[in-house]
């Protein structure tokens, strides 16, 4: 329930930022959206079992689902790489992003 609300808050913030004219805000929106996607992946494992999947003999009743964790671990790094790529877009192109910023030009 609370996890779902967190996802909702992140998505709302992300969408609002992405509708902005400032490219940096769009990038920040992308960052929030990837947080939301990662938490969504976690929610598929459920929130009732929270023990670490660490150790040689694990109890399936208590241990968290390791598969979404593995997905999210790589997803974080990939979205980080894409964030860097978007940031390089923001400062190249010869035109300041604020040229178009502000009121509907």
């Amino acid at each position: 329930m609370i996890l779902a609300l967190s996802i909702g808050v992140l998505v709302a913030g992300a969408v609002f930022l992405m509708m902005s004219r400032s490219f940096i805000r769009v990038v920040l929106g992308f960052v929030l959206l990837s947080h939301a996607a990662n938490l969504l992946l976690f929610s598929t494992g459920g929130t009732s079992r929270r023990a670490e999947p660490l150790g040689k003999s694990l109890d399936p009743v208590l241990t968290a689902d390791p598969l979404p964790q593995a997905f999210v671990l790589t997803a974080i790094v990939i979205s980080f790489a894409i964030t860097i790529y978007l940031l390089s877009l923001a400062i190249t192109g010869g035109r300041d992003e604020d040229d178009e910023d502000g009121d509907d030009a």
Binding site: L40, P53, A64, V77, T83
Partner: protein, 904 residues
């Protein structure tokens, strides 16, 4: 000697053609003609009196094979294609004297090979592929003929490709309905007679495809357009061979398609209209080439019409007329080429007295024109009488009378070709030296057209087997004289009427010397082309903007719609039982961070706020039992802030003002998306127990891998291929970042207001971090190595280790007094690339046991080792490389921008 040999022979000749043309120049036509004749002989030996089949597997999983079949119909067309091809090659040796010929000979031979493949094809896919080959060859041959050839070539391509798409649709329909790509089987399928919708659909599609190829009304525009090509190309493709591909297709499908009533009606209508308007246009033209082009439209119309009639007599007429037309029309086009070469013009008003200046050629064109007009004793007369007879015994006298009318006009324009050019005062001509191969080629065509009528019974076996293959009776007896029949009467009446039109040609010219139709075919094709382009541009305009919001709004809105629709069908579960007090605290911090990000006025403020959200997400991961993921998130969050700060230096401090008009719809969309995103997980993820696959990993993972860190073993062993793909993405990202920063100009750096504060000077303020870095950097690097090694059993692994290492780099970077010093100069692209290579190599080691990326395990000196550690090293290098690249290229000194990251 097999069918496959015949096919491969054609393509071998195509491969040799450029070599021959380079070596022999224009004389390459001789060996190529010999090759084509050799193939024709081979075909005759293989299949003159029997049907031969051969099949070579091609795509067995789809039941597509290189199925070849040489039956009577294929035999006739193969002989036609190869023999006329050889004639044209002989002709070309003189026509192209002193001109570049490599592409010409290659394309012409390729065309002959494609055409052979088309008529031999007994597989629907092969048939379609060959069909498109002939289209392409035609396009390229027109295109190479000069600087003005572009638009006509494109129009030809557009029309014939549209037909090709119809054929593709027909092929797909047949394959789906009959379940086979085997042409003979598909044509014999009971579906044709049982399923009227199927038969009609396919019949119309096939008819349209054939109509485009054979330049039938309303697709006739491209054929006169294609006349910019040189004479031999016109003679071969646009008179004797390629346009006959459409006729071949109609004949091939004649038997099954006749089950659809629309087939007959469509073909007779289109054929009649084409035959009539083609003849009228031909009579109107004074350019001999254009005259012959429209004459081709007319004659092919006649063929389409009789195929539509579909009786044995009509099909016999079609087959004989195909042969007759190929003979007299190729002679005609080749003659026009000769005339153009010697007289410098092909307009009948500008030449005269050819009777005296080129007597031999004049005799030949006279014979060809007589055959074209269908005057006895030529083959043209035989075939025309057969056509009239077939129509009389099919639809009846009314249609036969209309056909005879078009035949009369045919006589008239055939007569015009000769009556105004042969007699009269001789035109000055260029010398005839070296043109004898051209005359030979014309002679063979003209003599065949002229004399085959006298020896018509000799054609019986060839024609009979071809008619049998189209579903008619193979018992064919051709003759010059059939006795006094209604068909003979109509034929003679047509000749008489035509003769009258020739005599009264001045009056006829006055009537015809105007535009007969308000639209021209070329104009229509161009209009369609323009309309398509304009529509495309209009559609494109909808998305042609740089603003990301315009592109993002549509999918986001659709997600919201999807979510609402989902809620109608499903009920969310509202249980809050799983939540803890920590969760609620996290939600509060997270919401604060998100709101702060959204409302922040300064860029730096927004970056800090987004960091707050990121850290709370990291803690979320930790409370959910994922310390590895939490660690990764934490490190990424730190590095994100570092890199964002590097970027922010280039941008103004404050965001621009946000307008209300823009913010309100954005807020509505944001809230809708947020609600959907909240309800989605509540609906879909209410499962209580562990998933089956998760349970397997928890119970069996540590046993299988000997590693206690299940998440890490999933990444580097169970789903290593997935991770490998991600490494490639990271390496590509490093490349893309470098390319962006190097190739695009930087944004201009804003002039910062001078700040008189103790915080302003960078170097003294960096002293603390500088001193710290000396201790921290080596420690962090060591720590990252440790994290890499222990990842199999405890939190750590390649991703986390690389992020720690990158953190060390960032610390060093921040401690440096200026950009130039901070630049590490390490070859980051090589590092990222080597990560992929190392991971791939470790994958190949897996082949020692089972397959790519299978981990191998060994216990050495009491420690457990696995090759997945090497894979993890690859992960490390790739992640490290991309972050290093980001620091070096984004944090590089402004001037010169192009130097960024150049030390690779």
């Amino acid at each position: 000697m097999t069918l496959l040999g015949l096919l491969l022979g054609g393509w071998l000749l195509t491969a040799l053609a450029p070599l021959l043309a380079r070596w022999l120049g224009h004389r390459a036509g001789w060996p190529l003609a010999a090759g084509l004749l050799g193939l024709a002989a081979m075909a005759l030996m293989l299949g003159y009196d029997t049907t031969v089949e051969q099949s070579v597997p091609w795509i067995p999983s789809l039941d597509i094979a290189l199925r070849l079949r040489l039956d009577g119909l294929a035999m006739l067309f193969v002989a036609l294609v190869l023999i006329v091809g050889a004639l044209v090659m002989i002709y070309s040796t003189a026509y192209f004297r002193g001109k570049p010929t490599v592409s010409y000979y290659t394309l012409m031979t390729a065309f002959a090979a494609s055409m052979t493949m088309l008529v031999l094809a007994d597989d629907l896919v092969l048939l379609f592929v060959s069909w498109e080959f002939t289209t392409l060859c035609s396009y390229l041959l027109i295109l190479r003929s000069g600087p003005d050839a572009g638009p006509p070539a494109a129009r030809t391509l557009l029309v014939t490709v549209a037909g090709g798409l119809c054929l593709l649709a027909a092929v797909a329909t047949i394959v789906v309905r009959t379940g086979t790509t085997h042409l003979s089987t598909a044509l014999a399928d009971p579906a044709w007679s049982e399923d009227g919708t199927f038969a009609t659909t396919v019949a119309i599609l096939v008819a349209v495809a054939a109509m485009t190829k054979s330049a039938q009304f309303p697709f006739h525009a491209w054929l006169p357009d294609a006349m910019v090509a040189p004479a031999p190309v016109s003679a071969y493709l646009h008179a004797a061979a390629m346009v006959k591909a459409g006729i071949y297709l109609l004949l091939r499908f004649a038997e099954p398609a006749a089950h659809a009533p629309a087939w007959s009606a469509l073909l007779i209508t289109v054929g009649l209209v084409s035959s009539f308007i083609g003849a009228v246009f031909a009579l109107q033209r004074t350019d001999l080439k254009a005259l012959l082009a429209y004459s081709t439209v007319s004659h092919l119309g006649l063929l389409t019409l009789v195929i539509g009639v579909g009786t044995t007599a009509a099909l016999t007429a079609a087959v004989v007329h195909v042969v007759a037309h190929a003979a007299f029309k190729s002679a005609g086009f080749l003659y026009v080429g000769l005339l153009e070469k010697r007289a410098g013009t092909r307009d009948i008003r500008e030449v005269g007295g050819l009777w005296r200046s080129m007597p031999l050629a004049s005799v030949l064109i006279l014979v060809a024109a007589v055959a074209m007009g269908g005057i006895p004793p030529t083959l043209g007369f035989v075939s025309k009488e057969l056509v009239l007879d077939g129509v009389l015994h099919g639809p009846g006298l009314w249609l036969a009378a209309l056909v005879a009318l078009s035949a009369a006009i045919t006589v008239a324009y055939s007569g015009r070709m000769v009556v105004s050019t042969l007699p009269g005062a001789p035109t000055r001509l260029a010398p005839a030296s070296g043109t004898w191969p051209m005359v030979v080629a014309i002679a063979i065509g003209a003599v065949a057209a002229g004399t085959f009528g006298l020896v018509a019974p000799a054609l019986d076996p060839l024609v009979g087997r071809a008619v049998a293959a189209t579903g008619g009776s193979g018992d064919v007896h051709l003759a010059l004289w059939h006795g006094v029949t209604p068909a003979l009467g109509l034929s003679l009446a047509a000749i008489a009427a035509g003769a009258l039109l020739i005599v009264a040609r001045r009056g006829v010219d006055r009537v015809l010397d105007r535009r007969l139709f308000p639209v021209t075919g070329v104009g229509a094709v161009e209009a369609v082309q323009r309309a398509v382009q304009v529509t495309g541009r209009r559609l494109g305009d909808l998305t042609r903007t740089d603003a990301p919001a315009a592109h993002l709004a549509v999918p986001l809105l659709l997600i919201a719609v999807l979510g609402v629709a989902g809620l109608v069908a499903l009920t969310p579960s509202w249980e809050a039982a799983d939540s803890t007090a920590v969760d609620v605290a996290l939600l509060i911090v997270l919401t604060g961070g998100v709101i702060a990000t959204v409302v922040a006025r300064s860029r730096l403020g927004a970056v800090i706020a987004v960091g707050v959200a990121g850290f709370s997400v990291a803690v979320w991961f930790f409370t959910l039992g994922a310390s590895d993921v939490a660690l990764t998130q934490l490190l990424v969050e730190i590095l994100t802030v570092v890199i964002m700060v590097l970027v922010l230096r280039h941008l103004p401090q404050q965001f621009g003002r946000r307008s209300v008009r823009r913010a309100v719809p954005a807020a509505i969309l944001a809230i809708a998306a947020g609600v959907v995103a909240t309800l989605g997980p509540l609906v879909f993820t209410g499962r209580a127990e562990l998933s089956a696959v998760g349970r397997w990993f928890v119970e069996e993972g540590p046993v299988e891998t000997g590693g206690a860190n299940v998440v890490n073993t999933i990444l580097v062993e169970f789903r290593a291929l997935d991770t490998f793909g991600e490494l490639v993405v990271l390496a590509i990202a490093a490349l893309a970042i470098t390319a962006l920063v190097e190739a695009r100009p930087r944004v201009t750096r804003p002039v910062l207001p001078s700040v008189s504060s103790l915080l302003a000077p960078a170097a003294p303020n960096a002293v603390f971090i500088n001193v710290l870095a000396r201790v921290l950097v080596p420690l962090m690097l060591l720590g990252s190595l440790y994290a890499l090694l222990r990842g199999h059993n405890a939190p750590g692994g390649g991703f986390i280790a690389a992020l720690i290492g990158a953190g060390a780099l960032a610390t060093r970077y921040l401690g440096a007094p200026d950009d130039r010093e901070a630049h590490s100069g390490l070859p980051y692209l090589a590092i990222a690339g080597s990560g992929v290579v190392v991971a791939a190599v470790s994958g190949f080691i897996g082949y020692a046991e089972r397959s790519f990326l299978t981990p191998l395990h060994a216990d050495i000196l009491g420690y457990h080792f696995t090759t997945s550690l090497i894979f993890d090293l690859g992960v490390y290098l790739a992640v490290f490389g991309v972050i290093l690249g980001a620091l070096d290229s984004l944090g590089s000194p402004e001037e010169p921008a192009a130097k960024a990251g150049d030390r690779r």
